[in-house]
């Protein structure tokens, strides 16, 4: 939301429409997240993935989302540059599509402040939920972040987007085909077969716009390799694109029914989500932080070295995490399905679960490594904002000191 507000002003050459409303969005969002988190801990939940918050929060989010839309599109409406920049298409897509998904999926009849019953039941509820679940992730974590990519990447690398035509085609292909893929979360579940097969086909098609965008990004950077070396912000963004490519390749593969037989209900799914969430979303956010915070604070970044350490911690943490989840997920999937020659199960559920210990240990370590990087960044950015420049004090050599004395 912050980057949408920043980018829309930059690319429209006007200040925000109704800045007070934008402040309202900012605070209201924090409040919803804070109390929403508490409410989940208290057991208030609709159980729907990515839409767990109960109805009072759903209404609050709807209100604040409309405000977000008003500020954003209002700013675009009074732009002084004729063409609406690509980033703003993605941010606009995010606002519109999430509004549609959020409202339809969360329709429910309240019983009390902490409880409601979904308007849909059983199989129909499942299809609506994954139409929402897959695409809320898609448009927020892909669409919104692609908006960031399309603004900050050219900005940082000093290169225009490699192919404008490709970005146009990829945007519309993305907006069209993402929506169909949701039911791949329900392969071999009690929903109609045609819905599953259609979702699988569209998931495979989705690979095209995803990789088109990734290639567009990588090609944009490829001309400025010198800057990459000593620019932590750009480095993070390039890494995030690599993970974006990885996750958007893995996704369609997992949406193939015969692969999904193994991967469904296992930690493989968790690994896939994290290669997106840690590798793509977190990395690009870090990149934008390292770019924006010094600029907004009007100061130099406190420590380039800490930022580089953060880069390696984030990369190794993410890779370890994904590896642990892949290994755990594939083992679970195959061992659960494993039958002996008489057609009897080879392993009990507990056998398989007990074998997961080393993977979960590795997962914990990986998470801590990743988190420690984030802590370093927080410290680094905090010191940047406080404006304490690194003062390099070199102790004078013994010779000079003794020379002075003499």
């Amino acid at each position: 939301m912050a980057t949408a507000f920043y980018t829309v002003q930059r690319t429209s050459h006007v200040p925000l429409l109704m800045p007070k409303l934008a402040w309202f969005c900012c605070y209201a969002w924090q409040i919803v997240i804070f109390f929403g988190g508490l409410s989940l801990l208290a057991g208030w939940t609709s159980t729907k993935e990515y839409a767990e918050l109960e109805w009072p929060f759903d209404i609050a989010i709807t209100v604040l989302w409309v405000c977000f839309g008003v500020v954003f599109f209002g700013t675009i409406a009074r732009r002084t540059i004729e063409t609406i920049y690509i980033s703003n298409w993605f941010f606009g897509g995010l606002i519109i599509v999430i509004a549609m998904l959020h409202i339809v999926n969360n329709l429910a009849l309240p019983v009390s402040i902490d409880k409601s019953y979904s308007l849909y039941a059983g199989a129909q509820d499942a299809v609506v939920q994954w139409w929402y679940g897959h695409n809320a992730v898609g448009f927020l974590l892909t669409g919104g972040f692609l908006g960031m990519m399309y603004y900050f990447l050219p900005k940082m690398s000093g290169q225009p987007i490699w192919s404008y035509r490709l970005s146009v085609v990829a945007f519309w292909a993305f907006t069209y085909s993402y929506i169909w893929a949701g039911p791949h979360h329900l392969h071999f579940n009690s929903i109609p077969d045609w819905v599953q097969s259609l979702a699988m086909a569209m998931s495979l098609i989705l690979l095209a716009p995803s990789w088109a965008t990734m290639i567009n990004g990588i090609m944009t950077v490829s001309k400025s390799s010198v800057k990459l070396r000593n620019n932590p912000a750009l480095k993070f963004i390039v890494l995030s694109l690599a993970f974006y490519g990885l996750a958007t390749f893995e996704g369609p593969m997992m949406a193939i029914k015969s692969v999904n037989v193994v991967s469904h209900f296992t930690d493989w799914t968790i690994g896939h989500v994290h290669s997106g969430a840690l590798g793509w979303n977190a990395m690009i956010t870090y990149g934008v932080f390292y770019y924006l915070v010094p600029r907004l604070a009007g100061r130099e970044l406190y420590s380039l070295r800490l930022a580089n350490i953060h880069f390696w911690l984030a990369l190794s943490g993410t890779i370890l995490y994904i590896l642990a989840m892949w290994a755990a997920g594939v083992s679970q999937g195959l061992l659960w399905l494993s039958l002996d020659e008489l057609g009897q199960l080879n392993y009990t559920f507990n056998d398989v679960m007990a074998g997961m210990k080393p993977y979960y240990g590795l997962r914990l370590i990986a998470g801590l490594v990743f988190l420690s990087g984030t802590v370093l960044m927080t410290f680094n950015l905090f010191m940047t904002i406080r404006g304490q420049q690194t003062v390099k004090v070199r102790p004078p050599s013994l010779a000079t000191v003794s020379g002075v004395i003499a």
Partner: protein, 213 residues
């Protein structure tokens, strides 16, 4: 007009762009999701499938409050190994009174759709209070507080049933009237066990299916 010149118009007019995004992004939902919402076979209860009783409904809401659905799926896929492990695969008609559906995405613990009747009430009770006393290497947390709270504490049962009637669940007025009395003396633990024991039991007609494979 070539594609790019058409796009020149779109990218210069915010209204057109908004309309374009809305139009393009809703096609998928209209073609794929809308027909499912009108497919009657998906919302018609199969034989023996009835709405949850007062205690079972409270139990289900406790199951949700405690987050059981995060680690346990409720969906047996039509695969040989799954049918062997859990029982007959899940059918849409058995799940029409599930608001929300709880098929899940992750099996940290085993699937529970066919858990009803698999263990005794006493086993379920002990297992919830102290999982490791019956399953050696279980990683499930214990839920000791369930035994200390009355089943009526998790919301007004009559109000819940009335809301569900509005959504199409066939509760009679007598059932709703009798609901508070049915909960009398029950703890949250009793309600949760009642829910677990009814899970997947409406599929009488599929029983014995395991033997055919």
């Amino acid at each position: 007009m070539s594609g790019m010149s058409l796009h020149k118009k779109l990218e210069k007019n915010a209204g057109l762009l908004i309309f374009g995004i809305l139009f393009v992004s809703s096609i998928g939902g209209l073609v794929q999701v809308l027909p499912v919402l009108f497919q009657e076979s998906l919302s018609t209860a199969s034989a023996n499938t009835v709405p949850y009783s007062a205690a079972q409904l409270q139990g289900r809401d406790i199951y949700i409050r405690e987050g059981c659905h995060v680690c346990h799926s409720q969906q047996v896929r039509p695969l040989l190994a799954e049918v062997k492990r859990y029982g007959p695969y899940s059918r849409a008609g058995e799940l029409v009174y599930d608001r929300p559906f709880m098929w899940g995405s992750k099996r940290t613990g085993p699937d529970l759709h066919r858990v009803g009747g698999k263990y005794s009430d006493a086993w379920q009770r002990i297992h919830l209070l102290d999982p490791r006393s019956v399953v050696n290497d279980s990683i499930m947390p214990a839920y000791p507080w369930l035994a200390g709270k009355p089943a009526s504490a998790i919301g007004d049962i009559q109000k819940k049933m009335r809301v569900l009637v509005r959504l199409g669940h066939p509760y009679s007025e007598q059932e709703i009237e009798a609901a508070p009395a049915a909960l009398e003396g029950l703890t949250e633990l009793d309600a949760l066990v009642a829910y677990l024991q009814v899970l997947g039991t409406s599929a009488e007609e599929f029983k014995g299916e395991e033997g055919h494979h």
